[in-house]
Symmetry: C2
Subunit: 217 residues, 2 copies
């Protein structure tokens, strides 16, 4: 927390996991300060001694709040949900909550880890794009099918949930890696409906304190 008591989010404008948490903070109206951690500059600021003390996984996001530091985006969102329940990001019905967590984990555990920067660095440079695309395509094939039985206006029913906070940043990654999203009409239309919401707009990678001028919009 800052001296003013505000939570501090360690974030990188382009990190899809950071974006998930930014949306949760925005939806719940939690005022916070951003400390940018540039994953490229200085060989990666996440490797600094100071940051490693905060998050030994050397990843963003990390959130300092209520006297503790939490990392892992879904763990952060679940904590926010339990301590700041309004508006809720998990439905009341346990079966719908299971759907939300299943979709969130599919993206956060089944797609994103395989296409993130630190993994791609271990793959030969000319294979990196295909590697990332394969991870996204294989996950989206499954996700498109799952959404057909869970979705309403958004991923699960008609309320914005944690699953939507995972979906939009993952679709942005898909676009960055030039994945053709035509085979995913459900994913694409939910993404479109979410992107017009204020909480998704103000937290967008092109509008962060650390967004480079040439990428701002």
């Amino acid at each position: 927390m800052t001296e003013s008591g505000k939570p501090i989010l360690y974030s990188y404008f382009r990190s899809s996991c950071s974006w998930r948490v930014r949306i949760a903070l925005a939806l719940k109206g939690i005022d916070y300060e951003t400390v940018p951690i540039n994953l490229i500059k200085d060989g990666g600021q996440q490797f600094s001694k100071d940051f490693q003390a905060l998050n030994p996984m050397k990843q963003v996001p990390a959130l300092k709040i209520d006297g503790i530091t939490i990392h892992q985006s879904l763990a952060i969102i679940e904590y926010l949900e339990e301590t700041r329940p309004t508006p809720r990001l998990l439905p009341q019905d346990p079966k719908k909550r299971a759907s939300v967590r299943m979709i969130s984990d599919l993206i956060a555990g089944g797609i994103q880890p395989l296409q993130n920067l630190s993994v791609l660095k271990q793959v030969e440079e000319e294979l990196q794009l295909t590697w990332a695309q394969n991870a996204i395509i294989s996950g989206f094939n499954a996700l498109e099918q799952i959404l057909q039985s869970t979705a309403g206006t958004y991923c699960v029913g008609d309320e914005v949930t944690m699953a939507d906070l995972c979906l939009v940043p993952q679709v942005a990654n898909a676009e960055r890696f030039k994945v053709d999203c035509t085979p995913y009409p459900t994913i694409s239309s939910i993404n479109k409906r979410l992107l017009v919401l204020e909480a998704f707009q103000v937290t967008h990678p092109c509008r962060q304190p650390d967004t480079p001028t040439e990428l701002r919009a």
Copy 2:
């Protein structure tokens, strides 16, 4: 559910994600039937049309329970926790719950996905062992440090939590991939204390209905 109303777990004896769920079911005393899905035989039974209809991600575990099918191990465990709360696998204090979920996500999202079978298949054969070891070592380096501030008898305090259900199967994977665990005394001693508990013993990969005879113990 079976005709008898028992939940059905689609599981593979060696799958660390299936093991997490088996422990949860055992701890909560939930009687269930196992349908083995052999990830190797027949080119991988998870790719069959029938199984893909159950889990489009083509992964175990999946649990049929209460008229729904849930996949993603942590989503399953959270559902069991919400619908069968005793004994609890998440502490009452939200800050401790955050620690449990942080450790669980670190393993389930930050280590296991990078060393699982489907990913290793994409890596050149002579590099597979090193690839898996690197993922585990990098995660364990972080985890060892985190546990130093969260652990009591187990990963978070003195009660068995979801984090422990992730830890033990991941240590088993580390051993399978010949990772030297000497640098991780906290991980190793918690693992040792957990392995003697009945719920961890009866769910062990060497004691499943689909465990091959030569691996049984």
